[in-house]
Symmetry: C2
Subunit: 235 residues, 2 copies
């Protein structure tokens, strides 16, 4: 019901918004890489002057935090309380991995920026809830959450290619290995075929299994739900 909408041109553009800006940034990163992200490029993407962005985002750092937050908020945190602690923990850590596959080129930003919103706390809450329900005390629950988080982050860092350090030479043909001193790198050379093989899924699950099996073997009190109040109904 606005005047001047009769023409076939793009017409009234949706209002500029923090959300639109963040999504434009994410799109740009996924399309052209994190290096291509600039306030000016994002503004151009939205058909708007650079300085307009600053009405919704205080600066570039905040925009990057917005990107990280949006990606993490996209984690699908389904949970089946009837399953074992090990299974539930596995599902939780895999949720991070799934979102990482969805936004591969945003991952470096996600991994290197703090997230100041409750969205970032949701996975932590879930991990703590699992550990608590499994009978671990508070201090141990926090440590379990941090260990799982560390592995999830590190595995992603290794796979993203941002860091293929220490074993990425393996991807090169045998030629490269000819340059390596066989006295210094006998195992790297001997295991070149295995190092060259890229099966990130299996690699990821191997380490996750190690962690979770060790967690399962940890001493703990009997399983119990969070202090439940019989007088309270739950949805």
């Amino acid at each position: 019901m606005e005047h001047d909408v009769t023409s076939g041109t793009p017409a009234t553009r949706p209002a500029l918004t923090r959300g639109r800006i963040v999504r434009a940034a994410i799109g740009l990163i996924e399309r052209e890489g994190a290096g291509a992200l600039s306030m000016r490029r994002v503004a151009a993407e939205l058909g708007v002057a650079v300085m307009s962005l600053y009405n919704h985002v205080p600066n570039k750092a905040a925009l990057l935090e917005g990107v990280a937050e949006h990606v993490v908020a996209g984690m699908e945190l389904e949970d089946d309380p009837s399953r074992s602690f090990a299974d539930r923990a596995r599902v939780l850590v895999r949720a991070f991995r799934t979102v990482a596959h969805e936004y591969p080129r945003c991952m470096t930003i996600v991994l290197t920026h703090e997230i100041d919103s409750p969205a970032g706390l949701r996975p932590a809450e879930r991990a703590l809830a699992l550990a608590d329900a499994a009978g671990f005390d508070g201090e141990t629950s926090v440590r379990i959450m941090r260990a799982l988080l560390a592995y999830a982050l590190g595995a992603q860092l290794r796979e993203t290619g941002a860091v293929r350090m220490l074993d990425h030479l393996a991807a090169a043909p045998a030629d490269s290995y000819g340059r390596l001193d066989p006295d210094e790198f006998p195992h790297v050379i001997a295991l070149a075929p295995q190092l060259a093989r890229h099966d990130p899924e299996t690699d990821f699950e191997f380490g996750l299994d190690l962690l979770i099996r060790a967690l399962d073997a940890l001493p703990r009190a009997a399983s119990r739900p969070l202090d439940e109040d019989p007088g309270t109904a739950q949805g």
Copy 2:
């Protein structure tokens, strides 16, 4: 034995060198943070024109790789073959942690750049050697190395503060928790004291112990040294 050295002034400056450039960059990063690093600042640091740097380093990305390489090359890889696999693996992973403490503000760069030199392969060689000596097959040895690497990277990422995501709100005073919905974050709120406590060393060792204990429990062939040649003397 050069002329013109009689004055007290700095006299003949040491030749510009890739090594000197990299070390200047590292110093700058540790002093002022990774954000302060620029080719121009590094040049100023060395009392040299910006473009002089390009005679020794092709571009900024290469300089960052040089920084990562130099830091990782600083890992002290001592090893005692008479100790158990678990002990030796622990020592190896801790070596990365030690270097991370030495160059805290360089860590984000180390974690996000590939390392193209043999220096970056040395820790991998060591890890593979340990796993091999412990009787794991080649494929498993590679996976073990990757799992340990993922944990080392991730734990560092979590601690560096580059990513305190998911639990960093805990560091804020109780005030912040007042803002959190108690229905959505019961465990985060209940465990606020434990989350606020920062004991990175214990956190790190907790997760490392989980991994290594699980590795120790893995089935493997009997321990054996790398194909040793009785005819060869060793230093």
